[in-house]
Amino acid sequence: MLQIKFVLLWSDLLFFVLIAAVVVGGVWAGRVEHLRLAWRQVGQSRVGMATATVLIAFVLVALLDSLHYRERLPGDQENYAVEVRSALDATLTGLRTRAEKTYSAPLATHLFAKESLDTDLGRSFPRLKHGGAHLGDDLAAHDSDIAAKAVKGLGLGLLGTLVFGLVSLPLRRAAPHLAWNAQLLTVLVLCLLAGAVAVLAGDYHVLGTDKVGQDVLYLTLKSVRTAILIGTLTTLIMLPAAVFLGLLAGYAGGWIDDVIQYLYTTLNSIPGVLLIAASVLMMQVVIDTHPEWFATTAERADARFLALCAILGITSWTGLCRLLRGEVLKLRELEYVQAARALGVSSARILWRHVLPNVMHIVMIAIVMDFSGLVLAEAVLSYVGIGVDPNTISFGTMINTARMELARDPMVWWSLVAAFAFMFVLVLAANLFADVMRDAFDPRVVKL
């Protein structure tokens, strides 16, 4: 008898569809020569390979966090828990359940704040329930224990890298001209970090705990899914509108062009945050007045999350649309388009065969460029309180809860630093990757 019931949230579904689309697109791109050449150029770039590896690591975490399920409750009847968990939660059960009372610093054995203890006369720092509990009273061994565990973790990381290297050997042989060394180096760094953190996390809170004692490392890892989904799903929502309207405006011209131009100029002139705030609040009202729509809180949070994606998508298609319109205006006058018209090829077919393939580089570059902007936008919006549901763990909500603690003395810095570091690595990797993509795909970049 199955002890769990799988739950497919809407965002999971869209995310899987997106991943499938990327895989199918990759296979297709391999058969089209100019795309294959461009991707090969990305692969030959050391920065490209390294950042792609980092991004794939992030996507794997997000993917793991998108396999949702509900546990079966003990008892004869088939009842399931109301909490929706993910495969990532299952992997990190230790981190998730070993909650402390309140703040504790990274790798600490004691709480951050003094309390009056029964056994003592004065106030002192109480021991943590889990962090460093295995040490018992031997607090002198704290440092050496951390060092030993870190070394053990690094060793495991090295081993992991070696295994990865061996497994990826056939790939390396198949495409010897790609920058595999850069990729392996990135894997090494990731494995060493992951190994050390994993071993330490068994007995400590590597990144400390937050106000209610939750492990910050756990929160950060959970935030990755939100960030990646915001970046990709929003693009997915805005892309069809941007491409369709951009091509139409550029190619058809006349009053169609006028209407589309007025549409995006109007949309652009409304302050973005205001529009998003209004829409999110409206969505919130709709969601709150229809509790019967959602079986679990996770589903409700997911609905709000998707609504945010949609709203961000609706407000962000204008830039790409304008870019495409300009490019199509130019392409429309090109001679191969004129020749196709003279041959009697239909407009739809001209757009599909002659125009779209020649603006795809702009679309590709825009997707990757927008990604980092959207990840940052989520953080800002959640910070302001109009972003994702407060129950959804995201970089934005982490920063939002951590902001007050910056004023404490001594400062509680680790929540903020952890969120910042992860977001920084993700956005930097995305930006560098976008640069490499632009160099490879933009025909106007001169290649010598």
């Binding site: 100019h34 003279a342 090829v345 025909p443």
Partner: protein, 667 residues
């Protein structure tokens, strides 16, 4: 002692050497021309002299002595005072070499200040006057966008003159200009050179321009000089097999005959037997790509007379005639293969009796909109009442300068540009909207006319699929590729793998796929090198003979017209000013504009007889948005009378086929 002495100059880009061991000298007051096809390293040589090479390129070896100074040894700071000072340079694209947000005067002042330390207004005006800009004081305060292309090139020249250079480097100075403006600018440059005793390094691909300007000529091929000769010897008897083929590839019967002055004593119609009955000699293949390893002579793959030694040993310099150096193993000049295959077939294809295409009173007016409400305040009359008839198997050439509306006529006939007035009839049927597949177009730019994302097979099959032509498209595509002289197994390749000439063949195959009766060729050879142009012209002639195609050939190149066309229409500002058979229009032209066009085209003959006299037409073509009252040509016409200013002349029939719109044509 020579002013500039270049010794074994080599430029390297990575491992490739696009300029390889070039040596030449230029004396004071002399014009030396570097001649060659695109990609031969002419411009890189000039940039290397100025030490202005692009980042990837560097001077690998050699020395450049200028007035006793070694330029390669100067520091960058010292070099800056040489550039624009002792050596001035003007570029091909005048629009791109001027800063659009600075006035002309300010830009000249900048150059003056740097090189002479002072920038007085009068000096600027003086310079502008020296380059023949009318009303220089006012022009100095204007911005580049307010000037025409010819004016901009003059302003560029004024800037180059600011440092009072001893050497002027002109890199294709007139390639972007119209033929009448080209004549003006060439004239100006030659006058300035003589006046200031400046030396000039002229870079050109045009044998005609070089014939008018140069004292000595160096021919470049694949990064090397292959022939250096004084002008007269060069044009009398070119020595290198490459050079001789270049000459033979020109449809060269069109040259000025200064004996005949049909009207008011000044026009020069074409002379000589038309070369229409012979095939043009072509140079097979194309210039070897950059980075090719050469064991022997670089031209060997395309040379008809290659000896075994040509493949293994680089040829030495040899004295061909006095002062004429040739880098070739051949001892004597072989005669080029006689043109055996003449166009016998061409004569056989009888012209259809009835008109295949009739365009009458065709008009294309573009509205000019102004203001908030986008009200129409006027019209650009791009095409203003053009009537053309075309019979099967015949070629009508549409000639004119840029902006005269000739391309718009082609597009209007095809329906790509909806006409605002007039009718187009194909085989007697009135056309509306997009033309049927029986009419197709071949475009000018071989790079813009093929979708870079599609394979050649898909490009050619496009029309077959759009019209759902029966039969196996793959077979037909292979057949078409063979028909245009490519191999049938090229279907799987992408356009970027082909050279310009091959791309133009693919474009022709695409048009032929739907079995058209009429091809509208819009400058199909003007982006191609001379040798490749000959290949395409031969192909077009062959196809016409085989398939009985009619061509509407849109061009500005008179020599091509004379070679290919049976009838010629000359357009000026949206109207046809002269229409007739090729002999009537080119050899007995009666419109002053046609005469000016013919006279302004640089003639190779000038290189042979040393006579550099030719007629110029003054001024720039007016804007079609605001054409002059009366005859559009009267402001530039040397014989304009009062009636020319009052009304547009009615067509005058000089013969059954010859129509001229000029008041003076009859007299």
């Amino acid at each position: 002692m020579s002013l500039l002495s270049v010794r074994d100059l080599s430029v390297a880009i990575g491992a490739a050497e696009p300029v390889d061991g070039v040596s030449f000298e230029i004396g004071a007051g002399e014009t030396f021309a570097l001649l060659g096809e695109s990609g031969c390293g002419k411009s890189l040589t000039a940039l290397a002299l100025m030490r202005l090479l692009p980042e990837a390129a560097r001077i690998a070896a050699g020395s450049v002595q200028f007035a006793g100074q070694e330029l390669c040894a100067l520091t960058e700071a010292q070099m800056r005072s040489v550039r624009g000072g002792k050596i001035g340079m003007i570029f091909q694209e005048p629009g791109a070499s001027l800063n659009p947000v600075m006035t002309i005067g300010a830009q000249i002042a900048e150059a003056l200040k740097f090189h002479t330390g002072k920038a007085q207004g009068e000096k600027i005006v003086e310079l502008l006057a020296a380059v023949g800009i009318p009303d220089p004081a006012r022009r100095a305060t204007e911005y580049p966008f307010q000037m025409s292309g010819g004016m901009k090139q003059r302003a560029m020249t004024a800037m180059a003159l600011a440092g009072e250079p001893e050497l002027l480097i002109a890199d294709e100075p007139t390639t972007a200009l119209d033929v009448t403006i080209q004549a003006q600018v060439l004239d100006l440059l030659d006058g300035l050179r003589r006046e200031r005793r400046m030396a000039m390094l002229l870079i050109s691909h045009d044998l005609g321009v070089v014939a008018q300007m140069a004292d000595r000529i160096g021919v470049m091929y694949a990064g090397q000089l292959v022939e250096v000769a004084p002008r007269a010897a060069f044009y009398a008897a070119p020595g290198h097999p490459y050079t001789r083929r270049l000459f033979a590839a020109l449809p060269d019967a069109a040259s000025a005959d200064k004996a005949a002055y049909p009207m008011r004593g000044i026009a020069y119609p074409l002379r000589g037997t038309p070369s229409r009955q012979r095939r043009l000699l072509t140079i097979p293949g194309s210039v070897p790509p950059l980075g090719t390893q050469h064991a022997g002579c670089r031209f060997v793959e395309r040379c008809g007379e290659a000896l075994p030694v040509c493949r293994s040993t680089p040829p030495p310099w040899r004295e061909y005639t006095a002062g004429q150096q040739v880098r070739c193993h051949l001892e004597t000049a072989h005669t080029l293969p006689a043109e055996s295959a003449d166009f016998a077939a061409r004569a056989k294809v009888g012209a259809g009796e009835t008109a295949l295409l009739e365009a009458s009173d065709l008009k294309v007016h573009f509205p000019i909109r102004r203001g908030v409400l986008q009200r129409v305040v006027g019209h650009v009359r791009a095409v203003d009442g053009v009537t053309i008839a075309l019979r099967a198997g015949r070629t009508v050439a549409l000639v004119g300068e840029s902006g005269c509306g000739k391309t718009t006529v082609g597009k209007a006939i095809l329906g790509l540009q909806p006409p605002t007035g007039g009718t187009v009839k194909l085989q007697g049927k009135l056309l509306q909207g997009l033309a049927p597949a029986a009419m197709q177009m071949v475009f000018q730019d071989p790079f813009g006319s093929l979708n870079p994302r599609l394979r050649v097979g898909e490009i050619i099959a496009e029309g077959l699929r759009a019209l759902a032509v029966a039969g196996d498209p793959a077979l037909r595509v292979a057949e078409l590729l063979e028909q245009v002289g490519l191999s049938g197994d090229m279907v799987g390749r992408y356009p970027h793998e082909f050279s310009g000439g091959q791309r133009q063949r693919i474009a022709i195959a695409r048009a032929l796929a739907v079995r058209p009766l009429l091809l509208i060729c819009d400058e199909p050879t003007s982006a191609l090198d001379v040798s490749v142009q000959a290949q395409i012209l031969n192909l077009l002639t062959d196809l016409q003979a085989q398939l009985g195609l009619a061509y509407l050939f849109i061009t500005h190149n008179i020599t091509v017209v004379d070679y290919l066309a049976q009838e010629v229409a000359v357009m000026y500002l949206g109207r046809i000013v002269e229409y007739g058979t090729v002999d009537e229009v080119l050899r007995n032209s009666r419109h002053p504009y046609t005469q000016a066009l013919l006279a302004a085209a640089p003639q190779i003959e000038a290189g042979r007889d040393g006579n550099r006299e030719y007629v110029r037409v003054a001024g720039d073509p007016p804007s079609p948005a605001n054409p002059p009252a009366g005859c559009h040509f009267h402001p530039r016409c040397p014989w304009a009378e009062s009636r020319c200013r009052a009304a547009y002349p009615a067509p005058a029939m000089l013969s059954a086929t010859h129509v001229v719109r000029c008041f003076l044509a009859g007299s």
